[in-house]
Symmetry: C3
Subunit: 138 residues, 3 copies
């Protein structure tokens, strides 16, 4: 069986990070499915998903990694062509990837105790995001 749900959120950009674990877990529970996988996907080229221990220190360290690997304070060819200033956002999002897949068993996500599902908006302006939550199982 396949069940499609969505998570809507307001994101500020500039590596704005959101803990969406509760929403994903709720959709899985409400699906009524016992075992399977849930894929959370961002239909966007400037945001991404992963898992992390959602505490301010780890989040700050993770953001710094991207500041160093794809700093906003340098030239980007994307910016020279499109003048929207989010060249670094594109590189970061492509590196981290647009989806995360988490197995569930007996209706519960198999996340570790200190592991949460993280949505990161790398873009440079605030916007609404609507993530796809595709739940497959039996």
């Amino acid at each position: 069986m396949v069940i499609t749900r969505h998570i809507e959120l307001h994101a500020d950009g500039h590596a704005d990070m959101h803990n969406i674990t509760r929403d994903v877990a709720m959709h899985v529970r409400e699906s009524g499915l016992g075992a399977g996988i849930v894929t959370v996907f961002t239909p966007s080229a400037t945001s991404a998903l992963t898992t992390i221990e959602y505490e301010s220190g780890a989040l700050a360290d993770f953001e710094r990694l991207f500041d160093e690997v794809a700093s906003p304070d340098r030239p980007y060819e994307h910016n020279q062509r499109w003048h929207d200033g989010n060249g670094h956002s594109h590189a970061r999002a492509a590196l981290l990837g647009p989806s995360i897949t988490v197995p569930f068993v007996e209706g519960e996500l198999t996340l570790g105790t200190w592991q949460q599902v993280l949505f990161v908006d790398f873009d440079v302006r605030a916007r609404r995001r609507r993530l796809v939550v595709q739940i497959m199982g039996e």
Copy 2:
């Protein structure tokens, strides 16, 4: 239901990038499935998949990121052992990952407007690649 398809392409290596969105979308549409997920997988240790806005600026910026994180112009232990000169290709491909999973709804990929499925060949010589397209749904 599970439907297996393939995408064959000729890749030049050296971070040669291919927009395979149309092929993936076609296979999903032709599967006749309504909702589910499609996993595109490269059976290779020197190529990878993600999504990106497929325009020359963003592609060049993304390539530069890999030139900096895993430059070809430095020693690699893989090269010292195997003398095939693609040590950086292995590090890059392992970092970015061999697969991408995209949900589909009503037979259409849930990609964003400016988001395409990207295949990157990080190897150092041209070759044919045959990607696995695994479509699951109902």
Copy 3:
């Protein structure tokens, strides 16, 4: 159909790398399923999965990449708050990601000849890990 299995292993941390291909392939074969996808997931915020050519040169090169992108020898805000010394482990694991999805056909993984499934433990102390192997198909 959905079949849940586990892989248990002892990991030493400090980018300790394990080739788990044989275990994943065995679970898929024993599932009796013909075609589908297998998702291997680590329920942990300090370990990760990808694929790589599992030979000592490529593994050393891959570890060096993380030593440079998220060196242990620098301050981390996570460490300042929690004093567990694994700030770099969190950043690395979030970057690489907690899961890998591999299609299988006729009961066999579609991996390339030189491509193996890699588990990396980025934490700083030895521990047992129990990975989730979620097999879906028909």
